[in-house]
């Protein structure tokens, strides 16, 4: 993968660079703010950009705004936003233009190197990587509406992993079951929830998210 990193804390920026280079990926640029990120992406056209949400100058959501602009201007570059917090309104904004090449993870996830790089690879390949935290928030809301009652516990696990953006193979590896078993679960879930069966991972993620209510309507006044 060719990667651009935007992170204002030097310690994390260098750590990430090392982590990814260690795994044989090329870091085109590692920059400390949103403007530099846009410039670096325009210059290097990387496969994926890792973007911290809080960066100078205001330390609120510059990273998110830069990420949205990247999504619009460079649709072929995947964007993995990572942050100390999961804000559902942020994930809604990120997913507004579709689930292809989007990721939103807690910073904690870099601690699990293998999973983090797998998620990054997924985003670089045009897939989706949503933090389990995002998914569990959606589940909570959905469960309250009674939407998930008919699913077995195993099916719920599979649904959660689907919502995170994992492929059938990824789900099989995570749950330590065969690919065939996963396919069976997935088919069952789609039937029970009345979702259209779909081969493409992205559209599958979108369908699941929409079912879970993961794209709350944005209100006026902001």
């Amino acid at each position: 993968m060719r990667v651009v990193i935007a992170e204002d804390a030097a310690l994390l920026r260098e750590g990430l660079t090392r982590l990814l280079e260690d795994r044989g990926h090329a870091i085109c640029a590692a920059v400390p703010d949103g403007d530099a990120l846009l410039a670096a992406v325009a210059e290097h056209r990387p496969d994926v950009a890792v973007v911290d949400i809080r960066m100078p100058p205001t330390h609120s959501d510059e990273g998110l705004r830069a990420a949205l602009k990247l999504r619009h201007d460079f649709p072929r570059t995947g964007v993995l936003v990572f942050s100390q917090y999961i804000e559902t309104s942020y994930s809604a904004q990120l997913l507004e233009g579709g689930a292809a090449g989007v990721g939103y993870l807690l910073k904690d996830r870099v601690a699990n190197v293998a999973e983090f790089t797998a998620a990054l690879q997924r985003v670089a390949d045009g897939g989706t990587a949503l933090d389990p935290e995002v998914v569990s928030q959606l589940f909570r809301a959905s469960r309250q509406r009674g939407g998930l009652v008919t699913l077995t516990p195993r099916e719920r696990q599979v649904l959660a992993l689907m919502a995170e953006g994992r492929s059938n193979a990824g789900i099989a590896a995570e749950l330590v079951v065969s690919g065939g078993a996963v396919e069976k679960h997935v088919a069952s879930i789609f039937t029970k929830l009345g979702l259209p069966p779909d081969e493409s991972d992205n559209r599958r993620v979108l369908a699941v998210l929409r079912y879970l209510g993961g794209k709350p309507q944005l209100q006026d006044g902001r």
Binding site: L12, G15, R54, Q84, T88, S89, R140, Q144, G221
Partner: protein, 438 residues
Amino acid sequence: MEEEFRRVAGIVFGAPLTRRTHRELLYCLTGGLAGVAGFVVTVVLLTSGFTVSASVIGTVVGLLLLTVALRVSRRLGSLHRRLSSRLLGQQVEAPPRFQPGTGVLGRLDRRLRDRAAWRGVWYSLIKLPVAGVQLYAITLTVFGLIDITYPVDWLLFRNHPGGTSLSPLVAVVPLPFIGSLSISSWPATYLAALAGALCVVIAAWLARGISTADHALVRGLLGPSTMAERVSELERTRTLAVEDSAAALRRVERDLHDGAQMRLAALAMNLGMAREKLDDDDATVRELIDAAHRNAVDALADLRDLARGIHPPVLDNGLASALDSLAASSAIPASVTASIGQRPAPAIETIAYFCAAELIANATKHSFANQITINISTERAGVLRLDVSDDGIGGADVTRGSGLSGLVQRVSTVDGRVDVSSPSGGPTVVTVVLPMKA
């Protein structure tokens, strides 16, 4: 009866010998002189200021003179308060400090409307007659003391052989009796001494009276003023306190984010990398690193919850955004409508946010509702209104349950209001009204 008379006489005639009287006389002297000087300076500055500013060209100079007069008035006020507390032992609190405005006109405006300074001007004007009495008391004392020395003076300087003709001595009795007592023989000097002693006694009591009156003036005109002004001062400082604490919490959260959280994330990342590189045969080391890694990740999660409780960072993007996130993580489906024009002060946003969080948590715990509706608006001028309603069983009570009463307390720190309508059987509607500024 006789004893009583003696006691009173002792107090009356002994007064000049007490420390208190000495201090009061010193106060009369310093305060009187300062009063006269202050009166002159104030009158000169004010009259010239007003006269000059009456002409078009002189307005600037005139206004400048007025501001100087008001500055001087504050200085004089603090001088008089100090004298009063040092010499009379009566502490008078200073009025609120002057709050300079911004920009030339702002500064001028604040200065000209500085009520403490204008009250000081009144004091300077009223002080003149007071200072007159004070200085009179001083003169009376000095003359009295001179008169008391006459019998001794006579023996020292007038003890001439008999038959020498001398002009009579005139006892210096201050106004309005100057010269009314001439002395031409030694025994008569005792009369002068007696008159002198009487002067000293009268001066002592005069000093006491005028000091008391002056102190009342100092307290009335140079102290913190009327209740209304005091209240507005308290409101101002309370606003500062509320805003300051909100800003401090924000800073703490920012410091956590840029400091401990960032370092812990880096630590967890490094431990993760170390774990990857470890050979499988180092079972013990692997276990240790696994444990350290888990601890780092757990600490990161704990710290995140803590920081979020201190100040949710999403609040920096505005209330609507923050409430959206809050609603999204609610266990009961919650919808948010927001119409926010101008952004309220950060402290108010924080209060509104935590109110909404508390109300959602309350609804989740007690209401058995299917739907929560959150509405926030600034449609009414100067007011932020938050409505949180649910279709649950109702019966929420402000007096019971610490959640709601804590909320009422929090809101009341900025003069906000909480209305709860929650009939048994529902629905529950809680309305929080907050000012736009703390």
